[in-house]
Subunit: 184 residues, 2 copies
Amino acid sequence: MPRARTTETADRIRSAALELIAAKGVHQVSLREIAERVGVTKPALYYHFASREELVRSLVQPFIDDVEAVLAPFGPGADARQLLGAYFDVTYRHRDITAMIMREPGILALVDLAAAVGQWRTRMVSMLAGPDPSLAEVVRVQMAIGGLGDCTVVLPGAAGPELREAVLDAVCDLLLIPGPAREP
Amino acid sequence: MPRARTTETADRIRSAALELIAAKGVHQVSLREIAERVGVTKPALYYHFASREELVRSLVQPFIDDVEAVLAPFGPGADARQLLGAYFDVTYRHRDITAMIMREPGILALVDLAAAVGQWRTRMVSMLAGPDPSLAEVVRVQMAIGGLGDCTVVLPGAAGPELREAVLDAVCDLLLIPGPAREP
DNA sequence: GTCTATAACCGGATAGAC
DNA sequence: GTCTATCCGGTTATAGAC
């Protein structure tokens, strides 16, 4: 098994980068630092990532892709609990990335991905609040989406499934949606 | 006369910087290049200017200051020909800087001077178009200010005084102001 | 005190050898 | 895939000439 673990180093670079960025901020971390932590040299990074930007993008991209895949099957009038449940799951799965983005939203602009994120938020709003929502409705949906993401990050102690249910209950209340078959 | 020419080197740096920036753009010029052209080393630049930004600012600042000094005496209802004449003069005096700014307006943002410039343009508009001007009036004044600046730069061949009169005549027409005592 | 230079460090990025 | 070496740009420390 010599060449099977091709991406191993790249992965280690990614995770080192993630840790350091989480600790110090994107602009405060140099490629040298990242390389050192991985135990390689700067140029080695450049073998795996053409630039600093590309490295950061490679951190965020899988999350973006995953969200888009999860959102794809849903359409207008989607069941809120289902849609937001799926969104919770994907957010939770990538909670390290979610946390990074929440700490420094500027990252998205940096790697030219802000538009994508804005788009799926808008899509979710239109699916959940209808085609011509009032401001109040939009606000509630945006709060729901944002708050849901926050919880996956801010409450890392909570086990996934419990957190999931608690968040979805709260979000449905926020959206004035009666919970489904909850026994008293 | 030992210490009289204190700022000489700083001036040479400024003028070298100005030339190179005019030729290649602000962001395309390195301090090394500037230093070389002056015949000193990079660190020598740093003695005179704390940073790249400060160097650029020192290029622009005298112009800003001069404009503000010139504008100060004027108030609401100022005579347009007089005000614009004074503004022409100051623009013409600093036409090298004016040209640089026109080529790359971003420079102002870079050195945090965009606000200042915006302000005196607004001031001139309110002085010349009154407190509650129509859009049409504002447009004419802004065109006058901008066009006047352009002429000092675009027509470097023309001698100052002739250019001045020609520009002022044109500007007064633009502002629908009858020229003062012009014989037929 | 004014001015300048040498040398060095940091960060990003690339070439080329192993 | 990884390194050594190198370049560039910005910046600073230090030392020293005038």
